[in-house]
């Protein structure tokens, strides 16, 4: 992919996302969730989306708002049910949304595999559980594994802390979570950051996502929510 583009608005950043796309959405709960990109995606109107994210929305913001706007056909996530996941819960119980539950580490590793050109891998997680159903089983060196396939996105929407003008990214604390993995696993990676600095301003030893994984960047004003509400 060629050099990252710095765009003027979140709306420009999400332009062109097609109906039916698979969209990887960063964040663990609300930490690291790209709120501005999701709000722009709601305005943009793409529907029938498959969303891959750790959770299925908290409160009424971010991913929960996208779900409430009826744009999501299916959610792949590890932990949909939370104290404040009422939007998802209602849609799910009404049969209006499909759910595939994936153990959290498999979600991360399957996206890593997509980004790393690995065709499939044998993983010990979930052996002997209901989530092993339909999966190929193999014993290696006396331990039992399941065959897991990559999860690839058409788009990734992630939040980072600072980008340089080339597209290198750094994150903040546990808001890093899925962002670096999703950036590698999507055809087009779209990032919202709090600040864009000149190339050369980030420590090359501390870059977490190298520019090669980034396609579009938009600078936004930081908005934070905790699971219990806005702050």
């Amino acid at each position: 992919m060629s050099r990252a583009e710095i765009v003027e608005s979140a709306d420009a950043a999400v332009a062109g996302i097609e109906d039916g796309s698979t969209v990887l959405v960063g964040g663990f709960g609300l930490a690291g969730m790209p709120f501005d990109l999701i709000d722009a995606l709601i305005r943009q109107g793409a529907k029938d989306l498959t969303i891959v994210s750790n959770n299925a929305g908290n409160g009424d913001v971010g991913l929960a708002a996208l779900l409430a706007a009826d744009r999501v056909r299916k959610v792949l996530c590890s932990f949909p049910r939370q104290a404040d996941s009422w939007v998802f819960d209602d849609l799910y119980r009404a049969g209006k949304i499909e759910l595939e539950v994936v153990p959290q580490g498999n979600l991360a590793e399957r996206m890593r595999a997509a980004g790393a050109g690995i065709g499939a891998f044998y993983c010990p997680t979930a052996v002997g559980t209901p989530l092993a159903e339909g999966k190929e089983v193999r014993e290696i060196d006396g331990r039992t594994y399941l065959l897991e396939y990559p999860i690839k996105g058409d788009y990734a929407l992630i939040g980072a802390h600072v980008a340089d003008t080339l597209g290198n990214l750094v994150y903040r604390k546990t808001a890093r979570n899925f962002g670096p993995v999703m950036a590698t696993a999507a055809t087009t990676t779209i990032v919202q950051v709090e600040q864009v600095v000149d190339a050369g301003k980030l420590d090359p030893e501390a870059v977490v996502t190298p520019s090669i994984y980034v396609d579009r960047i938009v600078q936004v004003t930081a908005r934070h929510y905790t699971v219990q509400g806005a702050r």
Binding site: F28, L99, K173, Y225
Partner: protein
């Protein structure tokens, strides 16, 4: 034949969850790398001695996590796996989710403590879903934690509110992991579980034989109590 009479009656009363957290904290070797699951196990952190050198891992991408953040120290970018704002200790490190679960799955954590619906005598764990039709299944990192740490401890009440044992011959709830639990800490006592079956290590406010009777177990002989 039960030889549970060699198990120590270690307290004259059934333990509160806080007291139990202190017991578990006591058993975690100094300098261990430890993941404390969401809910009750989080309490264990409060009972670790300051000089224990225990390093806490949180699966959302951090080592050397500090206590819960209060007031101005709350940072929405810094939470534990339960999404509760926490703090960082000197020597902390952040990493992404694939690296965090590689650390776990690769067997690098010494101890992980989880809550449970049920644990089987052979170490099977059920802690992610009741399997009831109205229960939205949500596994989070439970299955990864269950198979990842060198020792998986469970912290739970021994009986349900209606008096059913949660330490059982065979789990009736959907499994989280097979044969993965090594020790079960409960309000009534501590048990080793695994391929050799269940052994009572110590009891709280009840004799080992009576406890064995309530669980319907014939425990294997207790050899050397640590």
């Amino acid at each position: 034949m039960t030889t549970t009479s060699t198990a120590q009656v270690a307290a004259d009363h059934r333990l509160s969850m806080d007291e139990l957290a202190a017991v578990i904290a006591r058993d975690i070797p100094a300098g261990s790398f430890v993941n404390l699951g969401i809910g009750q196990p989080t309490k264990i952190a409060d009972h670790l001695p300051a000089d224990s050198g225990v390093v806490l891992h949180t699966e959302n991408g951090m080592l050397n996590m500090g206590p819960k953040a209060e007031a101005d120290a709350i940072d929405p970018d810094l939470t534990n796996a339960g999404k509760v704002p926490v703090t960082e200790l000197p020597g902390a490190a952040y990493f992404h989710h694939a690296d965090s679960f590689a650390m776990m799955r690769g067997g690098h954590l010494d101890v992980c403590v989880l809550g449970a619906y049920q644990v089987a005598f052979d170490g099977d764990l059920a802690n992610w879903t009741t399997g009831r039709p109205d229960d939205i299944p949500a596994v989070g990192g439970a299955m990864d934690l269950a198979i990842g740490a060198k020792d998986v401890y469970v912290m739970m009440t021994l009986f349900t509110r209606s008096g059913e044992p949660k330490l059982v011959p065979r789990c009736t709830y959907p499994l989280t992991g097979v044969g993965c639990v090594s020790r079960v800490y409960t309000d009534h006592g501590v048990f080793d579980v695994g391929p050799e079956g269940v052994r009572i290590r110590e009891t709280y406010g009840i004799g080992a034989d009576e406890l064995a009777g309530r669980l319907g177990i014939t425990p294997v002989p207790v050899k050397e109590q640590a």
